[in-house]
């Protein structure tokens, strides 16, 4: 088809470098108001620094055009399974930009940042309560970083002669549906991953029993799991591990299905990480930032990273401070304290929800997913969903549309066609091959869910009536389908020097 149909009315956007005009600039500084000091030639660069040279309006137009070429929750339904793309309220963006917070330097004395520390201290305790665990560390930069931090602590515990005292425990178990970061984090901590088989999308207990032994440090589990099911065996799993002297680690990526309804600490979890953008709606910013606070049981507290935010004095006039005096700590996992700007939004989320609101968040996440699954499941096979048998999903569900794919289209074709309808494609090929992982989230309206189901059925129709139209999708994006294979063959990662 005529490629111009695909274009939005703005032309393809040139690179910012291609907008350069020698001498153009978008910003000026005050004139230098101090005497100059000679520059020591030895250390000064003689290479030209080839950055863009553009005026302020061209700059604004450039990034305005790029923004227009990006799907986002603000503009599009974004049912990306496991990524929990939910609404980021403007109020949270507003407060997070207040000078009282963003102008604070990380090395200011505690007495100058009591507001910031108070907020962090409160959040630390709120997250412990939500987890049903004893202490929280707010520092990790994202989920994977939380995994890393937690695994370091598990290791510290087992190498502590006065505690775990089992340095030989270097094995970490993970289900075959585990997220890639779980495995990669183990490697970074020098642990060996052993995979536990799944049965019907749940942990195969027999395989688990077979694999647990005195080299097992812990099992990392996600519950609800990555195929969108509550694993009801969680109690047994905890027992099996604890009986063998190993720990149960929860990947909290799916907490939004159970927050306020069920607490990890109450079902046997010893240590876990949160993922603030998934559970507490901190915006994901095209890839980040995130935050991955971890929560632990009493016996692991000593190993938490430094510094920890603490309170002295009494409730009526509290004094907050950073505590570095933790001899058994695993040390530092990042510079300064943490992703404050993200944690502030997390605080605002919990403060706005309160206890009832948090439970309602979980209830509605589960309600929306099951409603959408119900609307879809006769055309799109949902292996783990069968309301007839009272088998439901949690906050997301997996579809393996065999029948449709049998008609000669690929999962990609379906995904790319969704783009034409202004809908972001679901997660694909994970946790199992040829699957769509669909997570509507609790912040979507019924109207949006109904429309999505309608569009999916329309696409199912198109597969029969006009499969080629699908194979050529997207038709209304700024570009046609991109050749990702070519991109990897001879990678072009930067603009060639002008």
């Amino acid at each position: 088809m005529d490629s111009s149909n695909r274009r939005q009315h703005d032309d393809d956007v040139p690179l910012i470098f291609e907008r350069s005009a020698p001498g153009a600039k978008a910003v000026d500084l005050p004139e230098l108001d101090v005497p100059e000091t000679p520059l020591p030639d030895a250390v000064i660069s003689d290479q030209p620094l080839d950055l863009p040279e553009v005026g302020p309006l061209d700059l604004v137009r450039h990034y305005t055009h790029l923004a227009a070429r990006n799907f986002s929750v603000d503009g599009n339904f974004y049912p990306l399974g496991s990524c929990t793309m939910k609404f980021n309220p403007p109020i949270n963006e507003a407060v997070a930009s207040w000078p009282a917070f963003i102008d604070v330097h990380p090395l200011q004395p505690d007495e100058d940042v009591q507001g910031t520390l108070a907020l962090l201290y409160e959040l630390r305790n709120w997250l412990a309560e939500i987890a049903g665990l004893d202490e929280v560390c707010l520092q990790p930069c994202a989920g994977a970083h939380g995994e890393y931090t937690a695994l370091k602590m598990i290791r510290a515990y087992f190498t502590d002669p006065k505690a775990g005292n089992a340095p030989q425990r270097r094995v970490v178990l993970a289900p075959d549906t585990a997220h890639g970061t779980n495995l990669a984090s183990c490697t970074m901590c020098g642990a060996n991953v052993v995979t536990v088989a799944s049965k019907d999308g749940l942990v195969d207990l027999d395989d688990l029993r077979r694999l647990v032994n005195d080299e097992t440090a812990a099992m990392m589990i996600t519950n609800p799991n990555t195929s969108g099911q509550f694993d009801g065996q969680i109690g047994d799993i905890a027992d099996i591990l604890h009986a063998a002297g190993a720990l149960l680690y929860l990947d909290g990526a799916n907490m939004n299905a159970i927050v306020g309804v069920s607490r990890p600490g109450d079902f046997g979890v010893d240590i876990m990480h949160y993922n603030t953008h998934k559970t507490f709606s901190t915006p994901h910013g095209c890839g980040g930032p995130g935050a991955g606070p971890i929560a632990v049981r009493q016996f692991l507290r000593a190993y938490l990273p430094v510094p920890q935010v603490e309170m002295r004095g009494n409730r009526s006039n509290p004094v907050y401070y950073l505590d570095y005096d933790r001899p058994q700590s695993i040390g530092r996992v990042r510079s300064f304290f943490g992703q404050f700007g993200v944690l502030l939004r997390c605080w605002a989320y919990i403060a706005a929800c309160g206890p009832d609101g948090l439970r309602d968040v979980a209830h509605t996440a589960v309600l929306n997913a099951n409603y959408l699954a119900t609307l879809m499941h006769d055309r799109f096979e949902l292996p783990y969903f069968d309301p007839g048998q009272k088998r439901f999903c949690a906050h997301e569900y997996v579809s393996v549309p065999k029948t449709l794919l049998a008609q000669g289209v690929t999962l990609i074709d379906i995904a790319k066609r969704l783009i034409d309808f202004g809908i972001h494609p679901p997660t694909m090929h994970w946790p199992v091959h040829d699957c769509l992982m669909i997570e509507p989230t609790e912040t979507e309206s019924k109207a949006t869910l109904d429309r999505f189901a309608q569009v999916m059925l329309t696409i199912a129709e198109e597969i029969r009536s006009d499969a080629n139209h699908l194979r050529q999708a997207p038709h209304k994006a700024p570009v046609a389908r991109l050749d990702e294979v070519a991109a990897a063959r001879v990678p072009v990662l930067t603009v060639a020097p002008s």
Binding site: S335, A351, G357, L367, I419, P491
Partner: protein, 468 residues
């Protein structure tokens, strides 16, 4: 006012006061339950064993409406005394700097289309983010004088740790030489990252606030994976990368890791110019607010031959079905979601929005503007240093070249100067004892382009008067 409704089986469901986080109305909820074929949401949790269910509401403060939220946070904010505020003169640095941020950076990166998007896995629906990150990678590669850069890591310290892990795996060696002049937080993070791995951190002693060539030669051996040198280092001193890296390269497989300051890169010799194989560090100075230490921006650049070993995401250029230029994530086989335990790193979520800030900042400042900023940092810091050393009792702790930060030996406790500064709205610097880089009479002072001659003079007045 969580209004209450009785599910048909009689059990109560308290509905949400969290208007921003749930859009389903009570009426719709019942319709939807009906359509699913259950009486209450509880039944959807059937697979959760009863003992897993929380019997009572969480022990958290009651929900706050938006107005209440604004007021609570206003109160908390009022309990801060932000050093970066226009009411204060901020001379704090040590890895986080108070630079000028053009308003256009804030407004362009606040666009919902960027803020509320996920990682651009679906290229055709994410050309905006992908092109911006491609521009970012190019800018960082040029800034560091290296061939390729990734689309960001968490922050400076973890970026350096990733660089070291990469060097260990590429070189298949174990010894990690680290200059003592590295920011102590970075050093501590490195220690924790290496602690459970077959690797060993070998600290290199400083002489006069810098690492000298001989020290590197002495520490170098056949098992040296890499050499890590920060410059300007934690004392603000400019290290002689060229000499140190040349020394390290005497061992052919040893990789050299530079930890640069991105603003300094606009003025000083860049890592790539000095023989660095990898540059890793903190991008906060590139248009990112201080915000108590995060979110910041991990920068990572390297020579092309290391491309397939890089941690984190990479955006590549490609074409669409009609030959039109486009961009997509590439070389994903390095990453955890494909490679699992064998991935080059565990990083998934990165600092996308901060990378976008840096991209817009660098495009706004531009070729000339960034150099001007660097020059002003240099001149203002040296003006301050000369005025301060002219005060009796005060001298510079080191005599090497520096960029925009320097350590001062004071006649009194640094803490007493900091306390005195509070009365005059000056944040004069950082107590070196507290940061663990000196004694309690030493103050670390950073001067950015934002400081005025007047503020520098006020600082001097403060120091002088705190002396007697």
């Amino acid at each position: 006012m969580g209004n209450c409704c009785h599910g048909r089986r009689g059990q109560t469901q308290i509905r949400s006061p969290a208007v921003n986080y749930v859009q389903i109305t009570e009426e719709q909820r019942l319709q939807m339950l009906d359509r699913i074929g259950v009486d209450s949401v509880d039944q959807l949790y059937a697979t959760l064993p009863p003992q897993c269910l929380l019997g009572h509401p969480l022990d958290l403060p009651p929900a706050q409406s938006e107005l209440q939220l604004q007021n609570s946070l206003h109160r908390l904010g009022a309990a801060n005394r932000p050093a970066g505020s226009p009411d204060l003169a901020c001379f704090l640095g040590a890895g986080a700097y108070d630079h000028f941020i053009p308003a256009t950076v804030n407004s362009l990166t606040a666009k919902g289309e960027f803020v509320t998007a996920y990682t651009p896995y679906q290229a055709e629906a994410s050309q905006g983010a992908l092109q911006a990150f491609f521009e970012f990678q190019t800018q960082i590669a040029r800034l560091t004088g290296l061939d390729v850069a990734n689309a960001s890591l968490y922050e400076g310290a973890t970026a350096v740790a990733e660089a070291v892990l990469m060097a260990i795996s590429v070189s298949a060696r174990r010894h990690v030489l680290v200059g003592e002049t590295l920011h102590p937080h970075y050093r501590q993070v490195l220690e924790s990252y290496l602690s459970d791995l077959p690797a060993e951190l070998v600290p290199l002693a400083q002489t006069g606030g810098r690492i000298d060539e001989q020290t590197v030669r002495d520490a170098l051996d056949g098992d040296t994976a890499c050499l890590v040198i920060q410059s300007p280092n934690v004392y603000g001193q400019i290290e002689d990368w060229s000499a140190l890296f040349a020394a390290a390269h005497k061992q052919d497989r040893t990789l050299t890791i530079a930890v640069p300051n991105p603003i300094a890169c606009a003025l000083l010799k860049r890592p790539g110019d000095c023989g660095a194989d990898i540059a890793a560090g903190e991008g906060q100075p590139l248009g990112i607010p201080l915000q108590y230490g995060g979110p910041y921006l991990g920068l990572f650049a390297a020579r092309r031959h290391l491309m397939r070993k890089l941690p984190g995401r990479l955006v590549g250029q490609t074409v669409d079905g009609d030959g039109r230029r486009g961009f997509c994530l590439t070389l994903q086989t390095r990453e955890q979601h494909i490679r699992g335990a064998k991935a080059t790193s565990n990083v998934c979520t990165n600092q996308g929005l901060l990378a976008l800030r840096a991209t817009v900042y660098l495009s706004a400042m531009g070729k000339q503007g960034l150099r001007d900023a660097a020059l002003q940092c240099y001149h203002k810091a040296h003006y301050a240093a000369s005025k301060i050393t002219a005060l009796d009792g005060y001298q510079l702790a080191h005599d090497g070249p520096f960029f925009h930060e320097f350590m001062v030996d004071c006649p009194v406790y640094a803490q007493s100067i900091i306390d005195a500064g509070r009365q005059r709205d000056i944040a004069p610097g950082i107590d070196c004892a507290k940061l663990g880089i000196g004694n309690e009479n030493q103050l670390l002072i950073a001067v950015t382009e934002k400081r005025t001659a007047g503020q520098i003079d006020q600082l001097c007045a403060l120091l002088q008067e705190t002396n007697c």
